[in-house]
Symmetry: C2
Subunit: 231 residues, 2 copies
């Protein structure tokens, strides 16, 4: 390969906004940095892209290194490229969000040395983050809200079997507003991609609710691609 391209002292990185849902709250996975710059600050998990991996592969790898999770739903949402966003050099970062099921997950432990800690934090109670990560986070949640309207992403955050109330609480947490119970259920069921199970919630100290699951096959049959009506 001829060196026809100019060389920069520059690098690509990936930053991940990892969303989870727990106890009725939307959470995001942060790491506490153990190295300069921004030692002791909270930050979004991220890392540099290797020379021989695509950015999608890098995103998958980085998420795995941090959470031990594979096959997560990840989506690129924006690229941040201010000149001074990284104090040590020119780094353009491609930001992804990932949606994961917290429940039943073994504790997330960062494998990388640069983090001394990792924690789920409520999106309503975030500290100031390292680098431009606060801005990245803000962008991510806006994109997430919009995508919720036309893609079945909520189900990535819930356990496989869930109640309609759990689903509603999740929508409310993402959209940050209350929804009407009857109207919500009517609309969700009208789509036809929720499968009612012969099974009920367990371990609650009140009437147990029916469990449902998201029927991906039906979803794709109904909407070739998304929930946008096209007229």
């Amino acid at each position: 390969m001829e060196p026809l391209l100019p060389k920069f002292d520059s690098a690509f990185s990936i930053d991940c906004v990892i969303f989870g849902f727990e106890a009725g709250e939307l959470k995001v996975l942060l790491i506490e940095r153990n190295e300069d710059p921004f030692k002791d600050w909270w930050a979004l998990p991220g890392n540099l892209v290797e020379a021989d991996e695509s950015i999608e592969d890098a995103a998958t790898r980085i998420l795995y290194e941090l959470t031990g999770l594979r096959d997560m739903h990840m989506e690129q949402f924006h690229t941040f490229g201010a000149v001074k966003r990284h104090p040590l050099g020119r780094v353009i970062t491609v930001a992804y969000y990932a949606l994961i099921r917290i429940i039943g997950q073994k504790e997330v432990k960062p494998v990388t040395k640069y983090a001394k800690n990792a924690a789920w934090r409520s999106v309503n109670d975030l500290p100031k983050l390292a680098y431009d990560h606060s801005e990245i986070f803000e962008t991510s949640i806006q994109k997430l809200r919009r995508r919720l309207a036309y893609q079945p992403i909520a189900f990535e955050l819930l356990p496989e079997k869930f109640t309609l109330t759990q689903l509603q609480l999740l929508y409310e947490a993402i959209l940050n507003k209350k929804l009407d119970k009857r109207n919500f259920r009517k609309k969700m069921l009208s789509y036809g991609f929720l499968k009612e199970l012969d099974e009920k919630q367990k371990g609650v100290s009140y009437r147990a609710a029916k469990l449902y699951k998201f029927d991906r096959r039906k979803y794709f049959k109904i909407f070739q691609n998304d929930l946008t009506p096209d007229n």
Copy 2:
């Protein structure tokens, strides 16, 4: 600045999908390459990001160099990072689309040496493009379609004064489907951000239509930010 970051033989680039609207058709500005690789192929205009400019600045600059236009509406829509997407080295490209008013514009002439020609091509009649530019283009038009539903981007493509029929033709070109005339007008006018002018179309060989303009001030008053209903 300490060299704490690993160095890659790598670079960032910007590629621009420049949309225009003319003669009832949605067009895209392509350049014919004059250099290897992909000599003589059609491609999206693009270039490398300099070490001291943000990606937004780079996008603005590159568009200017190619079209002589400034202050265009540009929006980042996706970043492409396959390892082998560029045959000469690792190049991650951030793709933007720009919406420009073709009409009354002086001819676009590429200023860069690597292009021997630039031309507006109908989006329905594109050749196979250099690199992964066909894929980039496909993504751009999908994003454009979606954004049309919640952002007032159509007006960037029309002259300042336009008729409702022109607006409708543009929507039809972007969405690639016919719309009902009465319903379209009713809906557009119901938003309240179109200002009817005391002026009519000129130079047509039939009844002249009323001219309208997009009232940005009203738009922002009505929708803080976008056209999405939030209930």
